[in-house]
């Protein structure tokens, strides 16, 4: 029998070693999968995990890692506060959409005026949009004790319908030959979030790094960070320590929604360029996984976002260079997540085998 024994403290060694173990396990199982599909396993694994970083064209892929990873990191940082405090916002996808719609709407409303105030206004609108969308489950939880997991999830579907409506009518490009989708904001100087397209730098990347630093400082040095951690570990103790649980819910939901909304705005004004029916590509859900992979720690989240971005980009290279089916990449990503979640147990528990393991 497999027995788990809780460690008094999370193991420092395994905190670092577990993710590496998971990646190695993924490479082994992935290699077997690729071999079964008739591809050279080692070459495929090298293509996925190393080529984006060290190949001939790494100068192109490295900035792309920033573009792909930034929204994941930004959203996951926001989510991590709530997750630490036991507040489960899983509707970041919806907040991301609403943030993008609100921000883009500001930009599109003033088109084609050029002014340095436009982009900051869009950012504010995006943050507020995401924040308000996240506060709906927050307020309902505080007022009516509804389950925030479920309400925030429902609001994702509502946001998706809203997005379709916006792309087809309200925000549709009047010069778009009747096709759905808004004007391209990336081509509108005052509204573009690009700093340098070739370097992969846009304001969303900057914001992600700022968020990581901010979260790190807050969680380790600030009273709020302490309250969040306390509320997650022991809600009763938190109440004795004077933490207002209702306020905490609202603040955590607000932060996560605001950052998700910002991520949506930066994306729509830069890499994506326009509001379209399929604008959202699942960053909000992937970010939940990223937050857990990063163990809700800011640096961990940064690395996890990078790793996810790596498998996306490496997977595309493997598809086009080696003819690997897209489904195989998806399967390997699923495997990677499973292994990462699996080895996580080693950090908090000692694993023992055999009957004698019971105490």
């Amino acid at each position: 029998m497999l027995m788990l024994e809780k460690r008094p403290q999370p193991s420092k060694t395994w905190t670092l070693a577990a993710p590496i173990l998971a990646v190695i396990l993924t490479m082994i199982c992935g290699g077997l999968l690729f071999a079964a599909l008739g591809k050279a396993p080692l070459e495929t694994i090298r293509t996925i995990f190393l080529d984006p970083l060290f190949s001939e064209f790494a100068w192109f892929y490295r900035p792309q890692l920033l573009i792909k990873g930034a929204p994941l990191a930004l959203i996951a940082i926001g989510l991590s506060f709530g997750f630490r405090a036991g507040i489960w916002n899983i509707g970041a996808e919806g907040q991301y959409i609403v943030g993008a719609i609100c921000g883009a709407a500001v930009g599109l409303a003033v088109y084609p005026t050029e002014s340095i105030f436009i982009f900051p206004l869009m950012v504010i609108a995006g943050v507020l949009g995401g924040m308000l969308w996240a506060l709906i489950p927050g307020i309902l939880k505080v007022k009516f004790d509804t389950n925030e997991i479920l309400v925030s999830l429902m609001l994702v579907y509502v946001a998706e319908q809203l997005l379709a409506s916006m792309a087809l009518s309200t925000l549709r490009n009047p010069e778009g030959m009747g096709f759905p989708g808004s004007r391209n904001l990336a081509k509108y100087d005052s509204a573009s979030s690009w700093i340098s397209e070739n370097a992969g730098m846009h304001w969303g990347v900057v914001a992600a790094f700022i968020a990581v630093i901010f979260a790190y400082v807050t969680l380790s040095r600030h009273q709020f960070g302490f309250n969040v951690r306390l509320a997650g570990q022991s809600p009763r103790a938190a109440r004795f320590a004077g933490v207002n649980p209702k306020l905490l819910v609202l603040v955590c939901m607000g932060i996560s929604g605001g950052l998700a909304g910002a991520a949506g705005l930066f994306e729509v004004a830069g890499p994506a360029g326009q509001i379209s029916i399929d604008f959202n590509v699942g960053y909000g859900f992937t970010a939940i996984i990223v937050a857990f992979l990063g163990r809700l720690h800011p640096i961990g989240i940064l690395l996890a976002a990078g790793l996810m971005a790596l498998t996306y980009i490496g997977g595309e290279i493997a598809q086009s260079n080696l003819g690997l089916p897209g489904a195989a990449i998806q399967l390997m990503q699923g495997m990677l997540l499973f292994f990462l979640l699996m080895v996580d147990v080693l950090t908090n528990y000692r694993v023992r085998f055999g009957k004698g393991a019971t105490t």
Binding site: F60, K68, G178, N198, Q274, D278, E316, I317, Q319
Partner: protein
């Protein structure tokens, strides 16, 4: 900008390395919006890619990436293909329009072909198929097959492409059956089997005994088969497995000939930026075998219509035609110009209901 210079240098190096070795195969890339196993839009583009491989053998190497979201991801995949030495890249979804233009600007030596869009550049061609010609043939058959005089039409999104198809089908159906009525539902999806099945059931329940679909799954075919006496047409693929009844014919996306021709042009060095809009004549739109469930005289006249559309003798939008509001559109014998067709956002006279928004 320094990055741009580096980039230009790298492209130069890449293109040099491909031209330096004469026996190096020409590399053709394809970017798909769905999985190749979707049995519809992407599946048919991939059939086109396989036709290119078949045609050129060792002389051409093809690569593809599937399920690429429109936007930043598409742009990255295109660049990555260009860096990987692709000489010609087909971007097969409308939403890839802006990314294609952006990437093409950075790689002047790589040729791009964007499907269904309207933005061209020196190294970006656009191509699309005159599916409405196929719709005209369907309308012709449908108008004569219906007994209830109600024809159901499952639209995907209210965009010019779909509206054009509805109009083309209606004009022919009306010509052979003045009492015909079209019931149109918008599914707001290109592919969602459950929803498409529901849309088909709804139309059948409301009396339609012919279903035309502009969505890609076979669910409407199955719904028609269950109903027993409802005629359908295959969409994107032949859907022959539902023949000879309910599926009596089909519109087949046939990209192979175009992909082969464009690849040949790159090999020969004769590639130029073009705007292609081909129909039945060029083989880009295929009309699937009309089954024996269709009476022989109808089949014959449908084939005659198909052939006259193919030869260019007849245009699917030939006057006299009025718009839905009764205002004149085309005078007697006048045919629609491509500009109007490309941006079509109105119904022709006789169709009921409004196009959403």
């Amino acid at each position: 900008m320094t990055m741009k210079t580096i980039l230009a240098g790298a492209t130069l190096a890449a293109s040099l390395s491909t031209t330096a070795f004469a026996d190096d195969p020409t590399k053709v890339g394809f970017i798909y919006v769905g999985p190749v196993g979707d049995g519809g839009w992407t599946y048919e583009h991939n059939q086109g890619r396989l036709a290119v491989e078949e045609e050129f053998g060792e002389a051409v190497e093809t690569v593809f990436v599937e399920s690429v979201p429109e936007g930043a991801d598409a742009e990255r995949v295109m660049q990555q293909m260009a860096l990987g030495g692709a000489d010609l890249i087909f971007t097969t979804s409308f939403g890839y329009m802006d990314p294609t233009i952006n990437v093409a600007e950075k790689f002047p030596d790589v040729m791009f072909e964007h499907a269904t869009g309207y933005k061209q550049a020196d190294n970006v061609s656009v191509y699309s198929a005159r599916f409405y010609e196929g719709r005209a043939v369907q309308g012709h058959i449908a108008g004569q097959m219906t007994e209830s005089n109600v024809i159901g039409y499952i639209g995907s999104f209210p965009i010019p492409e779909v509206i054009r198809g509805i109009n083309a089908a209606y004009i022919q159906a009306k010509a052979v059956n003045p009492d015909v009525e079209f019931k149109i539902v918008w599914a707001y999806t290109w592919f969602d089997p459950a929803k498409e099945a529901e849309a088909a059931s709804v139309l059948i329940e409301q009396g339609a005994d012919v279903i035309l679909q502009h969505t890609d799954s076979t669910a409407p075919q199955a719904a028609a088969q269950a109903a027993g006496n409802v005629v359908t047409f295959g969409q994107a693929s032949d859907m022959a497995e539902f023949g000879p009844f309910p599926r009596v014919s089909s519109i087949i996306d046939n990209w192979g000939p175009y992909y082969i021709a464009r690849t040949q042009a790159v090999i020969d060095g004769t590639w130029e930026s073009t705007n292609t809009w081909d129909g039945i004549g060029a083989g880009m739109v295929g009309i699937g075998e009309i089954s024996d469930a269709v009476p022989a005289d109808v089949k014959a006249s449908a084939e005659a219509l198909r052939d006259s559309l193919a030869s260019g003798e007849y245009h699917a939008f030939t006057g006299p035609l009025n718009k839905q509001d009764g205002s004149a559109w085309l005078a007697d014998g006048e045919t629609a110009d491509d500009g109007t067709l490309a941006g079509m956002s109105f119904y022709v006279e006789g169709l009921t209901g409004d196009i959403p928004q």
